[in-house]
């Protein structure tokens, strides 16, 4: 029988009328990798912020090695041996690795900071856990994968016995992910305990020892990983059986809808988007794969009119839209699901009807002269809510109250209903639960079959592979490879995403 390192009993956390955690019992053995799974809104983040001392539970208790503890703050939790690597790193980019790691707990010699000792300690720690990080490197110069190791080092420097990793692989290439898994195994060998928060099933199967599944703030299942299957975990997460693969026939591409020639964004020797050219045809889904920050965002901004390109030519349905603004792009036939539904895709404090109207407000039947036809607006909203199964009481409810998946459905419903020849879908299922992913994928394929040209940008390789008929790999502003779907697999894409053409060919 292994020792229990961390236990919670009946944790309850309410936000107003919403019960985010509803009597959660968690039991984590020392030295295990324990997955916490659940859809968006299941209560994972709330539970983790309670365990890391950022929020106090309304009821229930936390037991650390059998002792009841009450964290007053994150600093207090750290003193009790908790560590956390957040999804968005909390590092000073302009400082070096060692400065980031020792920050707040600097080794001293008299009143002065002992620089040499700090570098030596950080170096030794990195070596011991095989983190291979240069302590004197500037964090801003490091890749995302290495920055994550710096975060882990930070926690280990404070002697974290329990490490919470919140969606740690979301920003990593497959190779970096494998590197992270090696680190996790080393930590495990040192009897450190890992809480692994994710909703990627294959990772749970690959690295974890046990799984706790949350649904609507309650624990629905506790399982040993080796005794379970992905299908069983999904059933525990969603309460039903979900189809993981996307059914689709081969594409039948038609005429070119989007023609990009020598598109450049940024100036200087290394523009963010560097003389990029490709064509997108009616009836095909082209996926853009790449590690975030390789020019995808800027490419999409230039293609949608949010930003003027610095060079090249973009033709949409035969119209030159290179210098056109968003309105002209939309008039020429663009629908666009933006990367961030809450920041760009919706106005959270507006009703569903108002959100679903955007882009239609100057078209019949919604406008009569300068006046809006309130009845047509409401009918349009009700129709879309019904057709896309948005879970909302009625169209007058503010969308800020919706879960991530439902909010995304609002955006998808609005943009697909434009029936524009070109659809740009950026991270269409990021942070969305399994049920909504299945639905959104099916809708995208159906749109393709109706003859739309779809440009899909996704950080999720499995999504790119499941949906795309053709895959473009972006690296440092260029298209490194243009592969038919059949020729691509995760390993090959991963190498290309890291910029290695030689090994991938």
């Amino acid at each position: 029988m292994q020792m229990v390192e961390l236990e919670t009993a009946g944790i309850v956390k309410r936000f107003g009328t919403l019960v985010a955690n509803d009597g959660i019992d968690l039991s984590v053995a020392r030295g295990e990798v324990h997955a916490v799974m659940g859809e968006n809104g299941a209560g994972k983040s709330t539970l983790m912020s309670i365990l890391y001392g950022m929020q106090a539970p309304d009821e229930g208790s936390i037991l650390l090695r059998g002792q009841e503890v009450r964290f007053r703050s994150a600093v207090d939790a750290i003193d009790h041996g908790m560590g956390m690597v957040h999804q968005a790193f909390k590092l000073f980019n302009s400082l070096t690795v060692w400065e980031n790691v020792v920050y707040g707990r600097e080794p001293r010699r008299g009143p002065a900071l002992d620089r040499r000792a700090a570098i030596a300690q950080v170096g030794a720690l990195a070596e011991r856990f095989r983190l291979s990080v240069d302590p004197t490197a500037r964090v801003g110069d490091l890749s995302v994968g290495v920055r994550q190791r710096v975060e882990i080092l930070k926690a280990l420097y404070r002697d974290a016995r329990i490490l919470i990793l919140d969606e740690p692989t979301a920003v990593l290439t497959p190779q970096e992910r494998d590197g992270l898994f090696d680190v996790i195994r080393t930590l495990k060998a040192d009897q450190r305990t890992i809480l692994f928060v994710t909703h990627k099933l294959h990772e749970v199967m690959a690295i974890t020892d046990s799984v706790t599944v949350l649904r609507q703030g309650r624990v629905t299942e506790r399982m040993a990983t080796r005794d379970t299957t992905p299908a069983e975990i999904i059933r525990a997460m969603t309460g039903r059986v979900v189809n993981l693969t996307v059914d689709r026939k081969p594409a039948t591409p038609g005429a070119a809808v989007l023609d990009v020639q020598g598109l450049t964004v940024g100036t200087g020797a290394k523009p963010v988007v560097d003389k990029l050219s490709f064509r997108l045809h009616a009836g095909e889904i082209v996926g853009i794969a790449g590690v975030a920050g390789n020019g995808q965002t800027e490419l999409i901004e230039a293609l949608t009119g949010l930003r003027r390109p610095d060079g090249g030519r973009v033709t949409l349905s035969g119209r030159d839209v290179t210098e056109a603004d968003v309105e002209a792009h939309r008039a020429a036939g663009l629908a666009y699901v933006p990367e961030d539904r809450a920041v760009t895709g919706t106005a959270r404090a507006a009703s569903a009807a108002d959100n679903l109207l955007m882009g239609y407000q100057r078209k019949a039947p919604f406008t009569e002269g300068l006046r809006l036809n309130a009845k047509a607006v409401a009918e349009h909203a009700r129709r879309l809510i019904g057709r896309f199964g948005v879970k909302i009481a009625d169209e007058t409810v503010l969308v800020g109250t919706l879960s991530g998946g439902n909010l995304q459905k609002v955006v998808i419903a609005r943009e697909l209903t434009h029936q524009a020849p070109l659809l740009i879908a950026e991270q269409p299922t990021r942070g969305v639960d399994v049920g909504a992913i299945e639905f959104i994928h099916a809708e995208l394929v159906a749109e393709r079959d109706r003859g739309r040209a779809i440009l899909l940008v996704s950080a999720e390789l499995s999504e790119i592979l499941a949906l795309s008929d053709r895959i473009l790999v972006m690296y440092e502003g260029r298209i490194l490879a243009d592969l038919p779907a059949g020729a691509a697999d995760e390993d090959r894409l991963g190498l290309l995403m890291a910029g290695r053409t030689g090994q991938a060919a």
Binding site: F15, E327, R371, G400
Partner: protein
């Protein structure tokens, strides 16, 4: 999945009565400490503003104040701030004072414009001039990236200065010793309804109704509301941000110009240096608009409340030893407490 506090509608019960109560109690204590009788003071304010005999005074004060509230609320509804109300007010008043005097002199004798036509022309010219001047501040942001908060405020000073120069020197009425223009012809003055009230009241009521209608029922109102909630959302949805800003500021400035014209054509009958600005309509209006987060109906209500409070303050000052600044203190306390309750400008 921490639910973020959604922005509350800025004027909702019971926060408003509570803030007023706190303001009244604190203000009362202040009166008490300085040796006055708070109950007497409040009674004077109440009678001075709300007794039927004093309604005309209150309404007369409300016309410019609510007008400036609307001028501030329009851009605020779209998340923009027009701090140049004073300059736009001065330009509007100046144009409305000069045009009825100068135009008959320029036109050939044969074309004698009737007074009401002259007044209408003066009002339209004032609205156009102030609207364009406000749009200039928007142009500063759209074209040159000068934040409108800054450009609108800074453009206010030259407008005040230049009108002050004209009325002090080239256009000064030399028959008086003051910095003021010649009186406008009687026919071009606004028709009186009763007492101090003139048809300027009806114009502001009409503007208020129009603004409410545009806000709730039109495409432009929808686009402006959405911009106020999330400007990235409207830009992404294809609303051109620059022209929208220019249109909005033009409307805001035009209403400020209208207010200037109403004061000049309705009560002063001439442009006096500083007379439009000293009552502080711009800032009271901005406060009222901020309090309601730019929502027009709430803003108008708040503007009316401030007008009543300030009018009552004059009565109190006349009847007691207590100076009318007490009502400004009350106003400030109420705003502070409402802002606290609602987290005006709260992050997220």
């Amino acid at each position: 999945m921490t639910p973020r506090p959604s922005r509350l509608p800025a004027l909702s019960l019971p926060a408003v009565p509570l803030a007023i109560l706190i303001g009244v109690v604190l203000g009362g204590l202040l009166v008490l400490v300085s040796g006055g009788n708070p109950l007497d003071a409040y009674w004077r304010i109440l009678v001075g503003s709300l007794a039927p005999a004093n309604w005309p005074d209150t309404l007369n004060w409300a016309v410019p104040l609510v007008g400036m509230t609307i001028a501030a609320a329009i851009p605020l509804r779209g998340g923009m701030v027009n701090l140049g109300g004073d300059g736009q007010l001065a330009i509007g008043g100046f144009v409305a004072a000069v045009l009825p005097v100068m135009l008959p002199q320029i036109l050939p004798e044969a074309i004698a414009l009737p007074g009401p036509v002259l007044a209408a022309l003066a009002i339209l010219a004032a609205m156009l001039a102030s609207g364009l001047y406000a749009a200039l501040a928007a142009l500063g942001e759209v074209r040159f990236g000068i934040p409108m908060l800054i450009s609108s405020l800074l453009l206010s000073y030259p407008a005040i200065g230049v009108t002050s120069y004209f009325v002090g020197f080239p256009l000064r009425d030399t028959t008086t010793g003051l910095s003021q223009t010649a009186m406008i012809p009687e026919g071009a003055r606004l028709m009186t309804i009763s007492g101090p009230l003139n048809i300027g009241l009806l114009m502001i009521v009409a503007v208020a109704a129009l603004v409410l209608y545009v806000d709730r029922r039109t495409v432009g109102g929808y686009e402006l509301r959405m911009r106020g909630l999330n400007p990235r959302f409207t830009a992404y949805g294809g609303v051109k941000p620059g022209p929208q800003m220019l249109r909005t500021l033009f409307a805001s400035g035009a209403i400020a110009g209208l207010v200037g014209a109403i004061i000049v054509l309705g009560s002063l009958y001439r442009f006096q240096d500083g007379a439009l600005l000293s009552p502080g309509y711009t800032w009271s209006g901005l406060m009222a608009a901020l309090l309601a987060g730019g929502e027009p109906l709430g803003a108008i209500t708040a503007g009316l409340f401030f007008a009543a409070l300030q009018t009552g303050g004059f009565a109190m000052q006349r009847e007691t030893e207590i100076p009318r600044v007490l009502t400004m203190i009350l106003q400030a306390i109420i705003i502070l407490f409402l802002a606290m309750r609602h987290g005006v400008g709260r992050r997220g």
